[in-house]
Symmetry: C2
Subunit: 323 residues, 2 copies
């Protein structure tokens, strides 16, 4: 009798455990691989155990934790800001890429290339202190809506990934964001929306200078956090090699490869694969934003976890939970 009760209680615990973690993930390969990894490396006294201090997990943001189509949301913010600041800059009416932004001519904006986009980011992200800038982002997020989904951008975070972050944190992982997005832009919403604090947000950043107790944003790029510079950012800000890395594009490949090259601990790599053309956007090898090509081949060949959004996620966004 005693034995039966124990077994029942164990089963109950196990089943509770199973329903508690990652509730928006369908049972399947990805969910199982995540849980297997976490259970394996957190089991004290085993060969694969990772001490708490070394449980570093790094996540890309755009396309991994929230949407990035049809354009990185920060670029849309920058374009909206061009419009908001236009009255102070009459010259923009006749100068590219601003002229195209003001005319809502996306084709024209795109024609200006990376150089044009950086110009737009530079002029819209400078000339003020970082705290004021973050307030501007927060204000924008309150009212701006996604062009096709007609929802605030903060609605477009991925519910299953939020659960994954919580699951890792509950198992004493330190979760960092390592994104091509700007640190101030992300710091304006990530702490509140994801529960990840400012000091765990690594990203691209502009030049700044110190003046009278404030950090002032200058009109120049300081660091672009993408591809081979992601490991450099991790080295500078964390100083430890992550044991787990999460991304969705070739831009995350070096970070994941750097993680996999950890010769001390068992590691984990996961790509979010955008396979859902109904609930989100299906894209990979040929996308201009979030291209996943080289990384997809490597993931398939090397048994990295590849999340099939369409089939493995019960919901994409948090608001679906209430529908």
């Amino acid at each position: 009798m005693h034995k039966i009760l124990l077994t029942l209680s164990l089963l109950l615990t196990l089943s509770l455990h199973a329903t508690e973690n990652l509730p928006s993930w369908n049972e399947g390969t990805s969910k199982q691989s995540i849980i297997n990894y976490v259970q394996t490396v957190t089991k004290k006294g085993t060969a694969d155990f990772i001490p708490v201090k070394d449980r570093i997990a790094t996540f890309d943001n755009d396309g991994t934790l929230w949407g990035e189509q049809p354009l990185y949301f920060q670029v849309i913010f920058a374009m909206d800001r061009v419009k908001a600041l236009a009255s102070e800059h009459p010259e923009w009416k006749t100068t590219e890429p601003f002229k195209s932004v003001l005319a809502d001519d996306m084709h024209g904006v795109m024609k200006s290339g990376v150089k044009g986009l950086l110009q737009i980011v530079n002029v819209t992200h400078s000339g003020l202190d970082v705290e004021t800038f973050k307030s501007e982002v927060k204000e924008w997020l309150k009212t701006a809506k996604h062009p096709t989904l007609n929802r605030p951008y903060t609605d477009l975070i991925y519910q299953p990934m939020m659960e994954l972050i919580q699951y890792l944190e509950a198992n004493d992982f330190k979760v960092y964001i390592v994104s091509g997005g700007g640190i101030d832009f992300m710091r304006a919403f990530v702490p509140k929306m994801y529960g990840i604090p400012e000091e765990h947000i690594i990203g691209s950043s502009g030049k700044v200078h110190y003046k009278d107790g404030k950090i002032m944003k200058d009109d120049e790029i300081y660091f672009i956090d993408d591809k081979e510079t992601k490991p450099l950012a991790i080295y500078r800000n964390i100083g430890k090699r992550p044991v787990a890395a999460f991304g969705n594009s070739d831009g995350d490949f070096a970070m994941m490869e750097y993680t996999e090259a950890n010769d001390k601990y068992k590691t984990f790599q996961l790509y979010v694969h955008h396979t859902d053309d109904k609930r989100e956007v299906a894209y990979d090898r040929k996308s201009h934003i979030g291209k996943l090509d080289k990384g997809l081949d490597y993931a398939l060949k090397n048994n990295w976890t590849l999340v099939d959004m369409k089939n493995e996620w019960k919901v994409i966004y948090p608001f679906e939970l209430n529908q």
Copy 2:
């Protein structure tokens, strides 16, 4: 009777508390100001309460947490490394500043100025991956001895400051180092010696590049973390304004001023003042290393905590505890 017991128990608690915290600090102004601050801002439900997530404390390293005389220990490491690498560089025998280093001619080294020192640091801190570099530092620390005290450099950390770090951490402060020292050099010993993890170590750094899963150190300075750039480093790596800052020189002034300009929370600033010419070295306004002049005036005028090492510290180094 009940009341008396309560009072006795309260007194006992208070006295236990007093003997537990900061045991190597003499009773006095500095110890009291530290304890007052921490007790004030950690008391829930009061106006000065600081939520745990915003309890960020930043410490300088050289001269604040360990010694820095007669030369920054990292510079001594670099000079020792010039000697160790000399056989691979026959040209150093005839080229300054290396010639002077190899001849143990400190005057000659000093004559090469900042440019010469950077040259020494660059060539001795590059051409290998960061993990191998840290191993080299660890090896050096095992055998190298301070020129006058004849002790390993890791013996020369300040016991009262270690207790201060522990006291802050016990009160849920996140403690960071923000130092002019190199991040790899510090990461080789700080986690073990101070209990501060790699991801809380901010400092100067050289350029690096990513290759085959490794971070390779290049022969060029990337970022010098000193004076007005300390707030910038804090902004980039932490993204929150600290509430408490600790330093010993004018090089820390901007970090402390930036902390004081926190308009949300009560803040704390502390200068370690090197007043002990017997147990350590007495220096301030006129020192070439760790000059404290402008900061000293400001601290005196603005009621910052100024630690009189000679009179306020029972011991300077941990090894004194066992004597």
